[in-house]
Every structure is written in C-alpha cells, then in structure tokens.
C-alpha cells in the first residue's frame, strides 16, 4: 500500500472509531464548555473589553480542549499493541503521523465550529475588522496546535504519567503560535490593526513544524 493509501486508511479508521464512540469530541466539547462558563464568570466583561480579551479566551479554551483529544490519539493504539504492530510493519511512519494529525485537525475543527457560536453569544462578539481572516487564522492556528500536539502526544505516550506529560511538552513550544493566534484574533475583532504579520508568522510556524514532525517522527516511533 502506498503512503497515501495508509494515510487514508488510518484516517478513515480513526474517524469511524470516533463516529461510533464519540469519546474525544464529547469530552472536548464538555471541557471547552466548562472553560467558557468559568471564564465568563471570572471576567464578566463589557462588549468593548470582551473584544480585546476574547482572542485569548477562545484560544486558551481550544488549546486546553485540544489536549484532551490529543492525549487519546495514541493511547488508543496502545491497547492490543497496535503501536508495536505499526512499528514492525513496513508502512512509512510519516503516513501514520499525517493520518493522526489530520484526524485531530478534524476533531478540533468540529469542536471550534460548535464552540464559536457559544463564544459569540456569551461575549457578545462582533468582528470590527475583516471577518473572513478569522477563518484563515482558525485553520492555520488549529493546524499549529494539532501538528505539534500529535507529535508530542506520541512522545508523552511512551513516558510514565503520560497524560500530564503532553501539556508540559506542548505549551512551551506552542508559545509563539499561541501568541500569533491570540493577537491575530484580537486584531480582527477590534479592527485596530492589521493581522497580516501574525498570519504570516502562523503560516511559517506551521511549515517549520510540519516539516520537522514529518522528518523526525520516524525516530520517535522507532525509539527503543
């Protein structure tokens, strides 16, 4: 089977598993909902203020929720030694990584699509800048979270106390991406300045870490 075929097959398997169990999406959704409610209790902002802080709130909520899904990415493969089977199979490691990253991208995107209306309602948001750019920021930002998250989840699943390890590895590296997402979103919502630099930075982050992950994933998968 070609690399593309393996990617497609693994992705289809993950999506089917998720569609039947809905484990990841349900836990992510409820977690994000809790974060939104707790944030709106603790800040209670006016419309003007909320526009300024919403970028930070939205992305922090998504980051925390994404960690819930990312932790399950590889944990599922540990049962019945599926990961060991991958390791001995001749399938390229990149194809497997790409399938997992795409799967997580879909899960987190679904979460964002469902949570964004809730944010708009709770914080009375309305974009004063060009709103179509929010879509670009969402796609690039989600990929930035997911590509490193999938990679580090593969590392943390091999450690003791694996669930705690993922955020400890992911958050320091994600700082520039998170800053870019938050600032770009705030820029678009307030309309005060251009989000272009941040979008370019996010794109650069995505390119750099996608290449690095594809290049180094084989080492991590076969680390013994």
């Amino acid at each position: 089977m070609s690399g593309f075929g393996i990617t497609r097959a693994t992705l289809a398997k993950d999506l089917r598993l998720e569609w039947r169990s809905k484990d990841a999406i349900n836990s992510m959704l409820f977690f994000a909902l809790l974060v939104v409610v707790i944030f709106s209790f603790s800040f209670d902002p006016t419309a003007e203020e909320s526009r300024r802080i919403a970028g930070g709130l939205v992305w922090v909520a998504f980051l925390f929720a994404a960690v819930v899904a990312l932790n399950q990415t590889w944990a599922r493969e540990l049962r019945n030694q599926v990961l060991d089977a991958y390791r001995v199979s001749p399938a390229p490691a990149n194809a497997l990584f790409l399938a997992k990253a795409l799967g997580n991208f879909i899960f987190v995107s679904v979460l964002e699509a469902l949570m964004t209306p809730l944010f708009i309602v709770f914080y009375n948001l309305r974009a004063l800048g060009p709103a179509y750019q929010l879509l670009v920021v969402a796609v690039l930002g989600t990929w930035a979270l997911v590509v490193n998250g999938t990679f580090f989840a593969a590392m943390s699943v091999r450690t003791r106390s694996r669930e705690i390890m993922l955020p400890l590895l992911l958050f320091p590296i994600t700082i520039p991406a998170l800053l870019a997402m938050v600032e770009a979103t705030s820029a678009i919502l307030t309309g005060e300045f251009s989000a272009r630099f941040w979008i370019v930075l996010l794109a650069a982050y995505d390119v750099v870490f996608t290449m690095a992950s594809l290049f180094l994933f084989e080492l991590v998968l076969h680390a013994e």
Binding site: M165, L169, P172, P176, F197, F209
Partner: protein
C-alpha cells in the same frame, strides 16, 4: 585528562575570586544606577554561559541523532541541566536589578521573554528526561532539543512584533561602556565559563558512571537469574 580536572578547578576558583574582587571593588560605580548595577557582572556572564550551554545541548543532541553515541547524549544532558541552573540565575538576578532601576520587576521585553521561553523549553526537556523510561529517553530528548531550537526564531519574531505594537519598555540605554567595566565583565565571563565547564564535566562523568553502574547491575541480575536456574 584526569589531571586537567583539578587544574581547571583551581583556575575556576582563582578567576571567580578575582572576578568578585573586580565586580565589587575595581569596577567604578555606575553614574545613574549606583551600586545595584554591580549585579551586571553576574547577570550578563550567567546569560552568556546559559546560552552557550543550550547551544552545546543542541549540538550534542544533533550529534546523538546522527551518530547514536551515548556519550553525546550524556553531554547533552549535562549541558541542559547546568544551562537551566545558569538561566535561573539570570531570571532571578534580572528582576532584582530591574526593580530599583526600571521601577518594575518584570517587563515583556524581547530579551527577557526569549530567556524565559528558553528556560521553559529546557525545563520541559528535563521533565521529559526524568519521566521517560530509560531506553527511549535519549532519542526523545534530542528530538525535543531540535524542536526547541526551531522554536527560538519564531519566538524571537513574535515577541519582536508584539513589542513594536505595545509601549516600549524602559530599557537601560546601550551606548558605550567604561573599559574598566568591560574588563571586569570579561573576567567574570571567563570565570563563569570555566565554572560551567567544570560543573558540566563532573556532571558528565557522574552520568557516564551512573550508566555503567546501571548496566553492570542489569548484567549481574541476569547472571544471578541464570545461576539460580
């Protein structure tokens, strides 16, 4: 090689004491900042040393990924650990200096933020080393070091732009430096580098010994199990 260690230790002790003497007595008092500026002779050399050690960690990690030499991994580990200690010194002495001079403990300035993010990345590196099971640790740690290095330019640009949008912090102006101050600074830098090399070296030897002990113990328990059978 064995005799070089005590020589380096004596050299370090001499340089450190001369550096302390220079920082407290020889160097002139700074005109606007006063005596508190003398922390500069510890703050800046620590920063340079920490960055050198992080760079050494990256180089050793890359060598490990290519050659799979366990000694390279031990060097990377020692450099990261000592680097985090020096970086902590930087992050602690920084606010102590900033408070009386700038009037604030902390500002999200480019250099401060970059140092903090580097510190965070390397703390996560050490946590990873601590929590992963022994066989896989070197590869995963080396991969994380590479990811951290890729992150640095991105952090740099993001903070640089973040800062140009927001009010500029009050940074102690650059300009020229008194040659006597520069002299003391360089002496202290040499002293700190020697000190770092000394600590790294003994940490490296300890790490190599620890691995040897582990291997011997594993071998012994294997032999014992074989004898009992």
């Amino acid at each position: 090689m064995k005799r070089a260690f005590p020589i380096l230790a004596i050299l370090t002790a001499l340089l450190l004491s001369y550096g302390l003497y220079g920082a407290l007595i020889v160097a002139p008092t700074e005109r606007t900042m006063g005596e508190v500026q003398r922390i500069f002779y510890y703050h800046v050399p620590s920063a340079w040393t920490a960055f050198t050690l992080f760079f050494l960690n990256l180089a050793a990690s890359v060598v490990y990924l290519i050659r799979r030499n366990p000694r390279a991994d031990a060097i990377a580990f020692a450099a990261a650990e000592v680097g985090v200690v020096f970086c902590t010194v930087v992050l602690v002495t920084g606010p102590i200096w900033a408070r009386p001079v700038w009037g604030i403990w902390w500002t999200w300035d480019l250099r401060l933020t970059l140092t903090l993010v580097l510190w965070l990345i390397y703390v996560s590196y050490l946590v990873l080393r601590r929590f992963s099971s022994s066989g896989q640790t070197p590869v995963m740690a080396a991969v994380l070091a590479v990811f951290g290095a890729l992150d640095v330019p991105l952090v740099y640009f993001s903070i640089w732009f973040f800062r140009t949008q927001h009010p500029q912090p009050v940074v102690g102006g650059g300009g020229s430096i008194d040659p006597r101050m520069l002299h003391v600074l360089l002496i202290n830098w040499a002293a700190f580098s020697c000190f770092a090399a000394l600590v790294c070296w003994s940490r490296y030897r300890l790490e190599v010994l620890r691995r040897e002990v582990e291997e011997t113990q594993a071998l012994e328990s294997l032999l014992e199990a074989g004898n009992q059978r």
